[in-house]
Symmetry: C2
Subunit: 242 residues, 2 copies
DNA sequence: TCAAAAGTGTTGTAACTACACCCATGA
DNA sequence: TCATGGGTGTAGTTACAACACTTTTGA
């Protein structure tokens, strides 16, 4: 181990954001097109370096979210996903990146930041299938974020955050199906979610959508952790959704 | 956002280690007594700065584990726990620490490193009860590590790593009870662990321990994720074990 | 023969899957 | 009246807690 007056090597600290939303019942992730080298022109997760030496890491995450997704992030569910610091992951030098996971209902169209030539919602399947490749190790980060989001749906009331203020049980089911990448039995789902105490509460109103019986509308309850949990089906073979 | 030739502020990157082991069926964590300021003389989690600008983070964690616990870490279960970077958490400057969780069977007595005046296994309850206070934000890190370890016992075959190469089902039960801080029904535990396919396999031998019927000895199977999981009892009130 | 620890059987319940079935609506 | 989606009933299954019970040993 180093002695007395040795000083440790400094690193550059960045944050990367995995921001999921649902559009037309399809899971999308926010990507930016890199405006500068390295990986110029390639899609990447939004993110950036700490702005000052005293900025908190999660504050930096919120700031990037605001800058790149045009979203006031203070009210948003944001959680640390992991830290990625393999030497050589960024050709500019030793960059260690703390990844955060953000999940939200239908978000506004993103706003391009200075480092982001262009920002867009991209279906997650595009990346999983290899059709879209990401800069740096961002495919790995996205994969970890997706797995975390899937697990969170099982044990938390997160799914309601994807929905409008009032929603039908079928709306909620579409959230689970989109994130998990599976099909669920609507009759069993109907009862399972209602069996969780204070997960969703009836608003009294109904929604008529063309033909078919009107669906009851619900709003989120106060419960945050689901008991019993909504266990996802065992991922048999390919887990790529759809 | 900063423009053109701005360079991001550097930070110092450290690793901290939450190393659990079991001694006499009591969960212990490895602590070092800080030999230098800040928090000189106070117990802390082992850890330290990156040695070089190109050292991988997990490599640094393994190195510190070897230096401070006198343990060849290459074979050890080690997983990233989280990153702690609140400004001001270290009075020396902007230090961001990546915490790792290590879990192992009965480990050798630790070896004091250069920065560690003294290293010792400490019962986790001593910290949870507030009897022992830790430097920096290490109590928070330890708490997160404990929660992670508890959750891992439910879904992975980690518990067998706490045991000797061959062990009885009661040995295994003591691991769960020590980490979870609860008492379990030995008859139900007996069958639950055996119901998991390839979790533990009989070695054929038995162990006689004073009075009572001899217990069959088992060794670890190849299974890493448990299905069905061994769900821990709902944490009712105080979660401090014992 | 008794205490102690290992191991087995059984009962009741919670949660679940699969699927048959009924209800309410718009075209 | 029929297709469509909302909602209910129910049978069979799995996992489990609780606890009575038998087995095998050392003292």
């Amino acid at each position: 181990m180093p002695a007395e007056h040795w000083t440790p090597p400094p690193v550059l600290l960045a944050v990367d954001l995995v921001i999921f939303t649902l559009r037309e019942s399809v899971l999308h992730v926010l990507l930016v097109e890199r405006g500068i080298a390295p990986f110029q022109g390639m899609p990447a997760l939004p993110g950036g370096f700490l702005a000052t030496g005293t900025e908190d890491i999660i504050t930096a995450a919120h700031r990037e979210l605001r800058e790149e997704a045009n979203l006031d992030a203070t009210q948003l569910h944001l959680e640390q996903l992991g830290t990625y610091g393999t030497p050589g992951r960024d050709p500019r030098g030793r960059v260690v990146s703390v990844a955060y996971l953000a999940i939200a209902p239908r978000l506004p169209e993103p706003l391009a930041g200075t480092d982001a030539a262009q920002a867009a919602w991209t279906p997650v399947t595009d990346i999983l299938s290899g059709r879209t490749r990401l800069a740096f190790d961002h495919e790995k980060i996205l994969g970890d974020g997706l797995e975390r989001a899937r697990a969170k749906l099982e044990h938390t009331a997160l799914a309601t955050a994807f929905c409008a203020p009032t929603f039908t049980i079928n709306d909620l089911q579409k959230v689970y199906e989109a994130v998990w990448g599976v099909e669920l039995d609507p009759r069993n789902f109907y009862r399972k979610v209602q069996a969780v105490d204070d997960f969703i509460i009836p608003s009294g109103a109904e929604r008529r959508a063309g033909r078919g019986r009107p669906a009851r509308l619900f709003r989120s309850g106060t419960r945050t952790t689901l008991f019993p949990p909504l266990v996802r089906p065992i991922p048999t073979t390919a887990e790529a959704q759809g």
